[in-house]
Symmetry: C2
Subunit: 241 residues, 2 copies
């Protein structure tokens, strides 16, 4: 079973105060880029893998999705998602993405935001999703970027002329990475860009678009600290079908 | 016109002594990975973009390619390629990839090794290649990896515990990069991973495989200095159709 850091009270308290958890999708600077990758949701059956508090699940229903199944490992997240949702067409369930079972050809869209870097067996997960989608189904997900994940100690360095510089080492050495983020030793899994895409292709997906989130000039004007996201990508966004 | 650094005598002298120029394909550690991405060459009409001394052009003919058109900006490279080749089915021509014109539907395979990072207008080039290929044609190329290219000063840093660490900054800021490599101010063009793949997809290509060259344990045993290539990828290999 995957490490369930989200039910750690210390982690949960910190995590719950993130702008994206308090304000929802509008608090995530990459949301406009994700939204541009999503298909028309009208009438779609959606599975939201790592749904957290259900912000995206509820938004998709408002866009006309026929039904949304939100899955998350964390009991606390699912409880809060259920409490915040009054919609019979959205169902929330506790589920471990490393042991996921889904009905076959039951969904038109699989969506996931920042959850797959906690998954040990990405290949198994991708094949499960492939089977759960109808043949013309779509798959849109975001993940921590391999450039962001790779290093032993992923923290800003002071580069020349004071330019913020991100360290990369161990890039080709895939597997466990432990970082301190609201709690000590949060376990994530580093995979290269190549592995991420080839896993999708080998499972039968066609890559439609790849984005490495970078803020727009307008976003930097509103939120100057976002400028550092130009130095190195923190998130990878992938659309496949 | 693209910067023609290869005809700079100082550059050419240094470049010509690289193991991959002296020994040919066997001197390039990524060659086995490229070879695994190439289709069966038997009867194929190939265009080799940035053919240099013609090592790959000649190899492809030995594998059964019907014809090879080798293109390079450098007069010195083309002269040497012609001198080293005695095969009427291989033609070498001086060509600027930033102003390339090719006949339509004339090739089964477009191949390029470590040339496209000198190209300013990648979109134009990719569309030209798309039109030059037959509908079921294939496109295999290698390019300097965006992780390797991005930083203002792309040189190893001493990380913690003496671990070699590669700097990344300015990743989202695409465009000119100038580095010193056998000559001062060699001009290259940084593009993100996303831009590279999306340019292919938007031109009508389907991504088949993406590799970020990393040495095998056996290669590291034979050539210990290759171990640093595990820390950060220097080359990106892409197969599309």
């Amino acid at each position: 079973m995957a490490q369930n850091i989200y039910d750690n009270p210390e982690f949960f308290a910190g995590y719950s105060r993130l702008p994206r958890q308090v304000q929802g999708l509008g608090g995530a600077p990459e949301w406009p880029a994700i939204r541009a990758m999503l298909p028309d949701l009208n009438g779609k059956r959606v599975v939201d893998l790592g749904c957290g508090f259900g912000w995206a699940s509820r938004w998709m229903r408002k866009q006309g999705a026929a039904s949304v199944l939100g899955l998350d490992l964390s009991q606390k997240m699912i409880e809060r998602a259920r409490a915040d949702t009054g919609d019979a067409a959205i169902e929330y369930r506790i589920a471990d993405l490393d042991a996921l079972a889904l009905p076959e050809a039951a969904f038109d869209l699989a969506y996931s935001a920042l959850a797959f870097h906690y998954v040990r067996d990405f290949d198994r997960l991708v094949r499960t999703i492939r089977k759960a989608l109808v043949p013309e189904g779509q798959f849109v997900f975001t993940i921590e970027h391999p450039i962001f994940m790779a290093a032993q100690n992923p923290q800003w360095l002071d580069g020349e002329d004071g330019r913020k510089t991100w360290p990369v080492n161990g890039y080709a050495i895939e597997g466990e990475r432990r970082t301190d983020w609201f709690a000590k030793g949060v376990l994530k899994y580093h995979r290269t860009f190549g592995t991420t895409l080839n896993t999708l292709i080998e499972a039968g997906f066609q890559i439609r678009r790849v984005e490495e989130f970078a803020p727009t000039p307008q976003q930097i004007q509103t939120t100057p600290q976002l400028a550092e996201e130009l130095e190195r990508p923190m998130m990878l966004l992938v659309s496949a079908s």
